[in-house]
């Protein structure tokens, strides 16, 4: 456990030192790359609540990532074109303010997670995997065939949304926002993990029958975990859209769900910092391998297979050792 804490500190230090070095060396591309890693790590932290803490293998988290992205896209689209979002019964206008967008993204994806979770959690095991996948695809095809917000082409937002007191177009300042939100999410998940709810959730993963016997309904715990998980992933979707200043149905695609899951697995399922290390490793690999070969997905696939077959527990498990008395 102590080695894991040291490793976590090292990961955080890396996430502070690399962008600072890039800032000093005037390498804005590296800052953007690190921002991408931080935002995708946030998505992974969200998925890890369902996957790692709850044991719910969701292959549909792209749904929440996309909803967060479109929360940003739709609000900013209305603001930049001076079109009101709703006129009757009362006027709602679009907005370019990040905090408002985040709030909407969190609420919308939490609502979607409650609905999808309530239906999907009636099932378990493989059925759950396939149903979450299918719900993700349902939203994907809906966004493609719904022309109001760009359909298949997506929406471009010309200027990055604003945050009071900061210049979000400056890469290092936008990175600071993303990193702060990542830290806040990690803090929240750490609190959840050690709370009564988190302990009940862990027991429900390990022995649902016993949890039921002491009078707790696993399905309720799972629904709450799934909702929190969806909300965090939704927030990261809004940030990701702001990073690219572009949203498209690709955010909903099942490859996105797969990649978010890959971050969690590469890093280590159920480890607090697993998704953070995983996404950093993924982005670094993408960056290096893309320079080596056009067909870098083959290497990515091979690395992934290697991790699944030989390094259970992911990178954190490999470095810090497997957790004892777990599962």
């Amino acid at each position: 456990m102590r080695r894991e804490n040291l490793l976590n500190a090292a990961i955080l230090l890396g996430f502070i030192a690399v962008p600072l070095w890039a800032w000093v060396a005037d390498e804005p591309f590296i800052i953007t790359l690190t921002t991408r890693a931080a935002i995708l790590a946030l998505a992974g932290v969200g998925l890890n609540v369902a996957l790692g803490l709850g044991g719910l293998v969701s292959l549909g988290h792209a749904a929440f990532f996309g909803i967060g992205g479109y929360a940003m896209g739709v609000l900013a689209f209305h603001a930049q074109n001076y079109l009101p979002l709703i006129e009757a019964p009362f006027l709602i206008e679009g907005t370019k303010s990040m905090p408002v967008i985040w709030l909407v993204a969190i609420l919308a994806s939490a609502l979607a997670a409650v609905l999808i979770g309530a239906l999907s959690l009636r099932t378990s095991g493989v059925y759950f995997i396939m149903i979450t996948l299918a719900f993700g695809q349902m939203l994907y095809f809906f966004m493609i065939s719904w022309p109001a917000y760009g359909g298949e082409d997506g929406l471009s937002i010309y200027i990055r949304n604003g945050f009071p007191g900061l210049n979000t177009l400056d890469p290092i300042q936008f990175y600071a926002i993303a990193f702060t939100l990542l830290l806040a999410a990690l803090l929240l998940v750490a609190r959840i993990q050690n709370s009564a709810f988190g302990l009940a959730l862990a027991s429900a993963r390990q022995n649902p029958t016993r949890v039921t016997a002491v009078g707790i309904r696993p399905r309720h715990l799972h629904l709450v975990a799934f909702t929190v998980s969806g909300a965090i992933t939704g927030l990261s979707g809004a940030l990701f859209a702001d990073l690219n200043r572009f949203v498209s149905p690709t955010m909903f695609s099942w490859q996105t769900s797969g990649e978010i899951m890959v971050f969690v697995i590469i890093g280590g399922v159920g480890r607090l910092f697993g998704p953070v290390l995983g996404s950093a490793a993924f982005i670094a690999m993408e960056y290096w391998l893309d320079g080596v070969s056009d067909y870098w997905h083959i290497y990515l696939g091979a690395v992934l297979l290697g991790i699944v077959l030989f390094a259970r527990g992911g990178l954190i498990g490999l470095i810090a050792g497997r957790e004892v008395a777990h599962d």
Partner: protein, 306 residues
């Protein structure tokens, strides 16, 4: 809406459903017998289509192309099973999802490396091209009728195979109790490889059949794979009968939804917004169907208690 158009669309729906059945049958067998969730099944579909397109381009023979698709997919299936999937039987579903996701990356990029990013085309053979006049004066492509006939006869053959042959009995026994049939002296790992190869060959055949209707390209397998998942979730995992009924339901719902929903909304709103709303909802129709089935039967129409 004329009756002729409706019948045409029903035939299209059947053709789509039959193709989904070929995919779903393999998935459901592999899951039912081995307990493995195989995301790479869509890659086997793609391999079948590419093998067929490559063979047809080289030899010009459609029959050879179909045989090439069957054998290429079966060989790929045997390789995947013996090298990778075999290590995953005892693991949880998460590991299986991840490993087969990795396989998709490898297969897709490998195919792109071998064949390039441009789509290939597979021509329908002369004998099967052109329309045929059905009773009632409906003009319908022979090739689509051929797919329907192929699919239904394979479904029939599969039912016979599972119900009547020795291997079929072993497969059913394997679904019920793996340890027991191993204890009775049946070589379980050979049975697993055979089931995997059978499922892969069916997926490859589906790819070859569809390859003549649409273009053969990298990534063609995954949309079909996800629909096949919907099929087996609706039908109940492990049930061939469920896969057939689910596939036809999904095929018909999707095809008819795309035609009927815009028209239904046309009755209550103007034409252009009816098309928009109808098309958006039609693209979601099968998922709504799936959610509806699961609310009433969480383990599918013909699923056991899992």
């Amino acid at each position: 809406m004329t009756a002729i158009l409706l019948i045409e669309q029903i035939l299209n729906g059947l053709q789509f459903g039959v193709m989904l059945f070929l995919m779903a049958a393999g998935l459901t067998l592999i899951f039912g017998v081995m307990g493995v969730i195989n995301l790479a099944h869509g890659s086997l579909f793609m391999i079948g289509a590419f093998a067929a397109a490559g063979t047809a381009a080289a030899t010009g023979s459609y029959v050879l192309a179909l045989m090439a698709s069957l054998s290429a997919a079966a060989v790929a299936g045997v390789l995947v099973e013996t090298l990778i999937i075999r290590r995953l039987y005892a693991r949880d579903h998460l590991d299986q999802v991840l490993a087969t996701f990795a396989l998709i990356l490898i297969f897709s990029e490998g195919t792109r490396f071998l064949f390039g990013s441009f789509p290939l085309y597979l021509d329908t053979p002369d004998l099967l091209s052109g329309p045929v006049t059905l009773p009632g004066g409906i003009q319908y492509p022979i090739y689509r009728l051929f797919i329907i006939a192929m699919g239904l006869s394979i479904a029939g053959g599969l039912f016979w195979f599972i119900a009547r042959t020795r291997i079929g009995i072993q497969i059913r026994a394997g679904e019920v109790d793996r340890e027991m049939i191993a204890a009775l002296g049946i070589n379980i790992s050979r049975l697993y490889t055979a089931v995997f190869a059978l499922g892969a060959a069916l997926a490859g055949l589906a790819g070859a059949l569809i390859g003549a209707i649409q273009s053969v390209e990298v990534g063609m397998g995954e949309p079909v794979l996800i629909l096949a998942f919907v099929v087996i979730v609706i039908g109940g995992i492990g049930s061939i009968k469920g896969a057939l009924i689910g596939a036809l339901l999904v095929g018909l719902t999707d095809t008819l939804g795309r035609v009927l929903l815009p028209q239904a909304f046309g009755l209550i709103m103007d034409a252009s917004s009816a098309t928009t709303v109808g098309a958006s909802l039609a693209s979601m129709a099968i998922y709504v169907l799936m959610a509806g089935v699961l609310i009433f039967r969480p383990s599918g129409l013909f699923g056991g208690t899992t």
